[in-house]
Symmetry: C2
Subunit: 462 residues, 2 copies
């Protein structure tokens, strides 16, 4: 066993303790009330990068700062850029958490906390892979750059602006984006495709002020009735999207890829029962579940603010109501074009005399596809297979990681999208968790990846 | 001028001060957090009834207590029962109030506070009409019962249970329900018809827990999409209700009454612009505005809780979403039958495989019609004409006052529904207000009503 691997195994407890410290910071970037927590998490990240031996620092910009660290002690060797984010989603509804979201708790072999899987617990394994080299005096086999942003969950543009203003700062021979996950317990995965996203808030104006439904009902426009008509027109009962030309650029995966997906150890009944649960699955019946998740676009409504949503009843005709809507996109849909198609169709669906506004709700991201034949992907497959004892599944994800479009598509950096989170990790929901065995194996896999990638003899680009 | 009228004019400032004290108690009956405020308002009411010379007390029951007071010093004379409520609607959204809802503020001749018009400021005028007699040693010309409940806004059944368990306790020769309003500034009104109400919450279940829309979108049922389809099917774009058999029992007013409504000083353009505002009016084009408000049933959505309604965005597929819906009913629709029709139709509108629950949201009330030829109505018309210098408009209201169905229809008590609130008083909305000139004229009108009604020589029923 190499010294870094031995160090990682000997310090497993400390590694978990360090992670818990980070997870206790409620760095919710979508809520302005948590602004100072987000800043605190940024400082914690930069401090920790310095503590493990990198040149760690904060990079201030328009939004939340970037935490950045680098190690350039391997001249002539390739450079690996690792990306993650220190911000997290809101934790409500709090009453559905078994233990408080910002008090990390070990239970049944998993660590429960907001951010355990998305994303602190994942990028943290790269920190520890680096630490396991440097703490043992083992030179890192590659140069390293670490970029940890604080606006992934709120669609902020700080990291994009940083990259675009001077792409050389993030130039690397491979990028490692630890914001995806495993295919199943014990089954590592490399994610070769990600859905994009575009979001909108549709706000409908009713009367000039909230009105009593008895004194005005029958004459005052009810914005929820108008919104319901609009939303009902956006999809059919199987969630197929009815926006004209929405599917025009959708490219299905090659038959070989679709066939490979059917061989993955995916249990549709278990997915339906244990992961989605409730009333069961919906979706386009002509596609498999994995195709619906990975290769088909979606439209979802996330909330409909307005009126009275409290306990009991208030018979009000609200002055306004809105719907928070997002669409997940697949190759080769373009976010700006889809937003325009959406906006135009919403206006056509609106009942006469209804006043409405459609506005973008957060940053959009293009869908991404990655070539599985890249040397970086090969090195990752080797490291994963050696660590987990089985070949990595080559999958896609229905989720969106905006940075991947920038690194892989825009800058042409071979990008490995992987991670240790399980499908039922509860991203964005209550009881988010990370399997601790996978966390530690993840650290080992990254130690091996750095070695395998260095061995693959990539010409250094500087 | 009679001594009571002189007393009322001399004590106008004190009367306003007393009312403000009552208005400062945030007796929001729909919110359990305000339970103690509701109890405090009940005690304040009973104490005040004693302070003005009635036998005031609290009557405890299942829900919030009733405040009750009586004066039986006119044996052989008729008895008048006055009804009002000390509970109020929630005050949110608080940021739309010019001054805080529970800090009564005089501005431009009006008093602004939650409850100023609905209903404390109105029933209070009866207290002061009684006080103006008793404080001057003027015997009241009638016996008096005052019943002030605390569950009008939350659909509680305490007052109904009290009345039904022993109707003799509220038996009277006339009832005065001060929970309606004036037709326009300076134009008093008697309300001869009230709409009923039936409410429901439609809850749709999606996945078993909140899910990430990237990781599950395209396979997990989105409860908002299902709710939108259901709601969109309930009405057409002009708010006409599509529930089969919904209109079967609707009886239009007689042609004479409809003609009289066209002669009322109602300015449709002003109503549209100044009261409803915003995008303007909707509704069935074959009916006038007053007909839509007074003689046509409605369906309104008041709020759609579920998912993420906060600032920014959370890309969640919520485990459940619901819609708070009410329908206003007109003669001779029956609340129970309408609820059943609604529930059945909602189930038919639901997309396949959607699980939903339809549950009543608060107490229902039947619509009411009152005969304008009753002597109590005649006495009220005389008192209003003498006080305001013009004939009272004989109108209906689109609002619901459940007690009126009990008193007028069930017990057969001649019931005068009137009040001093203006159409733009902001019931249930922000900046609720009561014109203070009308408040004081209201007290005078009630002083005169008690005299006129006593003079009308009604045989006492005891």
């Amino acid at each position: 066993m190499t010294a870094p691997l031995a160090f990682a195994r000997a310090h497993a407890q400390e590694f978990e303790g360090d992670l818990c410290e980070w997870l206790r910071i409620p760095s919710i970037s979508t809520l302005s009330a948590h602004r100072s927590d987000v800043e605190r998490a940024a400082r914690w990240t930069a401090d920790h990068l310095r503590a493990i031996g990198l040149d760690g620092r904060l990079i201030a910009g328009e939004g939340h700062p970037l935490a950045y660290g680098e190690w350039r002690g391997a001249p002539g060797r390739p450079t690996v850029l690792a990306y993650g984010h220190y911000d997290v989603q809101p934790a409500d509804p709090l009453d559905l958490w078994t233990t408080p979201p910002f008090e990390p708790t070990r239970r049944g072999g998993s660590l429960y906390a907001r951010g355990a899987a998305d994303n602190k617990g994942q990028i943290f394994t790269f920190f520890k892979a680096v630490e396991s080299h440097l703490a043992t005096g083992t030179p890192l086999p590659v140069n390293v750059k670490v970029l940890v942003e604080g606006e992934e969950e709120c669609g902020g543009r700080a990291v994009e602006a940083y990259i675009r203003s001077d792409p050389d700062r993030v130039r690397a021979d491979a990028a490692l984006v630890l914001d995806s996950g495993m295919f199943a317990p014990g089954v590592p995965a490399i994610t070769l495709g990600l859905r994009g996203i575009v979001s909108a808030e549709v706000e409908v104006a009713g009367p000039a002020r909230d009105l009593h439904s008895g004194l005005y009902g029958g004459t005052a426009p009810n914005p929820f009735l108008a919104l319901a008509r609009i939303i009902a027109g956006l999809t059919d009962s199987q969630h197929r999207i009815l926006i004209p030309r929405f599917y025009d650029r959708v490219a299905l995966p090659e038959p070989a890829e679709r066939t490979a997906w059917t061989r993955l150890p995916f249990d549709e009944a278990k997915f339906s029962r244990d992961e989605v649960g409730g009333a069961g699955l919906v979706g386009e019946p002509e596609y498999t579940i994995l195709e619906r998740l990975w290769a088909r676009p979606t439209l979802d409504v996330h909330g409909m603010p307005g009126g009275f949503t409290g306990e009991g009843m208030k018979t009000v005709i609200p002055a306004r109501a809105s719907a928070k809507i997002s669409m997940r996109l697949v190759p080769h849909q373009e976010p700006e074009e889809i937003f325009d198609l959406f906006e135009g169709y919403v206006h056509r669906l609106a009942p006469p005399a209804v006043r409405l506004v459609v506005r973008p709700l957060m940053g959009s991201a293009a869908p991404v596809l990655i070539d599985p034949r890249l040397p970086a992907i090969e090195a990752a497959r080797d490291a994963l297979a050696e660590t987990f004892g089985r070949e990595a599944a080559l999958i896609r994800s229905g989720a969106t990681v905006p940075i991947v479009a920038d690194l892989a598509a825009r800058l042409g950096i071979p990008t490995v999208v992987t991670g240790w989170s399980l499908p039922d990790a509860g991203w964005h929901g209550p009881d988010e968790k990370l399997d601790l065995d996978h966390f530690h194996l993840g650290i080992e896999a990254l130690i091996r990846f750095l070695e395998r990638f260095a061995e693959s003899n990539i010409p250094q680009r500087r």
